[in-house]
């Protein structure tokens, strides 16, 4: 199976990114984690994206806040699908990162998930890889089923609680 690369603009994004790394691990998807900055290490970031296919990387997930350019820089330098996770900041609630990630110009798309949506970024990568991996596809269906079951259990618990009132 191809790998998923999780790249962060800064090491401070790691606590958030761990939700993505754990989810990938839970699905048995091979992955790498890198600190690469579109602004502080632009050459390394570009080189990484250019070499992604050769490195057996199938999907790149990029975490960045503020004027979040990292996902766009990945997508500009590789044709693998790039998923952008806008990171919430302390001032504008992540709106800056969201718009900087999603409003890409024609020709260079970034698949953007919600603000701080680390787990969803990983799940989106899994959906992409599962297109050509039946086993992974089955795992995804089990995951979705489990989500539904957890929700159903919470529903039952609530109904019981309501009855006792």
């Amino acid at each position: 199976m191809k790998k998923v690369a999780v790249v962060m603009g800064s090491a401070s994004d790691l606590p958030l990114a761990k939700d993505a790394l754990k989810t990938l691990a839970a699905f048995g998807v091979p992955h790498v984690a890198r600190v690469l900055s579109a602004h502080r290490t632009p050459d390394e970031a570009a080189a990484f994206a250019k070499g992604a296919e050769a490195d057996e990387i199938g999907v790149i997930i990029a975490f960045a806040g503020k004027a979040a350019h990292l996902a766009g820089a990945m997508a500009a330098n590789s044709v693998v699908p790039v998923i952008g996770v806008p990171v919430c900041g302390k001032d504008l609630g992540g709106l800056d990162a969201l718009l900087s990630t999603v409003q890409m110009p024609k020709g260079v798309p970034v698949a953007t998930v919600g603000i701080d949506g680390a787990a969803n970024a990983a799940l989106l990568a899994v959906r992409m890889l599962a297109l050509s991996d039946e086993e992974l596809n089955q795992k995804l269906k089990l995951y979705v089923q489990k989500l539904a079951e957890q929700s159903a259990e919470a529903d039952e618990a609530m109904q019981k609680e309501m009855e006792q009132l």
Copy 2:
């Protein structure tokens, strides 16, 4: 190759969606177009998403404006990757559709592109399918190269124009 389904909340989204359909056609990606509404025909929309894999659909692109729920409804009923295109409205500039599409809860991701980003949605679908289709991957690289060449030509033209001033 798996097909890409382009679903619209309303037939009025077709002029915008055509940019996606043309791009898919240019890449030789088989596709279907459907009018399905999360709110007016919820059963049909859900049934379509549930049957997507059986219908050989690999990626779903959903266009919707305002309280844009269509992409989310597709993602809730299928494990194929779903791409959401927020459609610009006459009041809030598409901010409503963008937030309704991208801010999905944990467990059910939507790959969101920019407001009215029809061509980019198709290109993102192509990137996903190209993960397991080397020929499509080559086409994608040619496309990216052509984008760069067009940009370079525009650059040359501008430099000539500047010289003549």
Copy 3:
């Protein structure tokens, strides 16, 4: 009297939803509480809405945050009035949930109350049911009168406090 259904996208909405449940209880309005997700349990959510009338449910109150689709999903699958409560998130202050709930397309309205407006959602449901229930209507008038009295008492207290300065 018909019942009011209080549905939540997640059990974590319960602390907020309790304001609605308590208000309904204070008015003697029969109610049920359910955890149903437009994205994690879409079939159960749709089935619940479709069966609402048969279950003697007159009004549905739906709590959801982020890309809040639950109220819309209820309204798409039932003709009973649906009240949407946008739940405040940690990033965008509930603006995402507000727009996702209120900006419904033509044909499928959601009666939206303010962000985290749990008590108001219940009071709105009571106003609807009181249209055909004179006793409930009287209780509503007493409630409104009590609100005014509390405000008047606070006014008197403040004026006394001011005099003593």
Copy 4:
């Protein structure tokens, strides 16, 4: 059947309000239309709301733009359900009217529909009245069914168009 009152802050709201009036007429719901301003004729507006029940009015729909206080003024002076329609302005896209209408304080709810959502306001009123009017309820179900059929026809037309390409 109780009447629906359609009140407008200004006569200039009539073109928009006509969508509500026509929808009410199509459902055979008796209605009145009034120009009443929370700011220019506050006494008349308050008196109208206070007398609504005696005038056999079951639901009030209020249209207002900018610092839209009309729906709130209706809800402050009557216990019938009040539906607020935020009217889009030329500067802020209706965000001002939306927030002024929906963010009501605890105790006095307004059922807010989308910006310029005139038809939806009428449909929401119909849903409320249909709670105790089986005939109206049947009409509502026919309406919803027709919406679905129109969507299905648009879907068929699009699929035919796609086949011919």
Copy 5:
């Protein structure tokens, strides 16, 4: 001298309003404080505004949050100048209250100050009353001079601190 009335939508606005009351006291401006709600006690609020001139009130300062209608209700029922203070809420940072206060329709102005701008509201009232009160005008000039002096002292202190580095 005419009085300044400080009205609050709720007693919970008092801590904030105290900045206005203290400022008025510091200038020796007679004042009253009232809890009056545009939504919970609309009759009392309107009556208060109607009687303001007879009560020797020259300026009304209104504090309200969320869908802040109180300043508008004062301005609709009196011709004395009304100052609106938008109160910051826990979700939208006071943007809702700001727009609900400032975007008044033609004919009924509200003099809006910044979010939570209690002291500035009082100072604005003082400026208005000082138009016809030379003694108050002198106090205002002393106040402005003192502000400048405090700023100059802070400047000197900073320059000293810088020199010692």
Copy 6:
């Protein structure tokens, strides 16, 4: 009676400012109009404000768009009440001008009216001057009464129109 000064950041604001000038003329309030820029002619702007009282100016109305500093510059250099009119731009709908005008720091208030609220700015100035001018106060009451009558006439016209349907 004291004069009202209408100052504009640029001559291009005149079409909008005319609504203020006409309103002042209709009330018989003496006024002057000036083009003064906080950024292009800061000395002249400051000098004008400093001399306002000596020039028998009682109220200053300032029109400015974008990073609208003019009203603040007036208020920083004079103790007369300053009214700010945020001018709508072509990009952000006047939100920039609104925030730049209203969010003044403690000590220096600006009485802000709605975006492009030229007539309301004049009416607010009239309210301030009427505090010490009984004749003007009577005119203001007549104006408010006329507003109410016009609204009542529009209401009657609409009710007639409705009857004929």
Copy 7:
């Protein structure tokens, strides 16, 4: 004198950029214009920035809309001052471009001017170059003086117009 480079993400930015080019020409500042895209020609864009100093370029002005990364890419690859001009789009009024340009991470600043602020970008570049060019500094002072004179003339014209009323 060092040159100013005006770079555009797309040739479609030229009409706007011409305001910058004309301003630079009026000040006699040597300049080049390039079409370079952070996303379509990332290598060329990076190479241009890396070579800027060697090319005798002292300031780079970058125009870009939407998820505007061009100015950031310039600043990441060169230590010359980079000025970013956020270009207004058809949906979000340029807010996306503004935030994507200005909210740069620590270490890599972009000097951002207003939305569509082409002339101001050139004037800011002139201010920078004038730091070490006395002749340019004098031109700048004349320009500022002329701005003030034009404003003063507009002021005189308006006062005359007012007198004639």
Copy 8:
């Protein structure tokens, strides 16, 4: 070398401004720090800007929050480049300060950095001064290199951490 002036609207901005002062010190750039308010000490602020060149000041950095006019006031009274730092407030997340700083009218530019971007403001000033100071330019290159090295070290550390999992 010319000095950099760091001006603050209020002494309360010092903790934030210290990041700028420290950065300037680290680069050996002479600097002064002043408390000057566009609203409380407008004459002093204008006089300071007018005298900046004579005081050997090459760049002015201005910190201000809310309706942030300080940077604009500096730029209106001097032709040296002015850098504006919008300071985050407790309500609107600094959006008010950002728009008040960046949206300057044609003719008077402010080089705006991100919200609370103190260090970047200093680095931008250094970039400007380095245009004519080769030694400073070398320091800037070393700084940029160090940034890249720190990022590379963080990347290595992360890769090691990943290997050990």
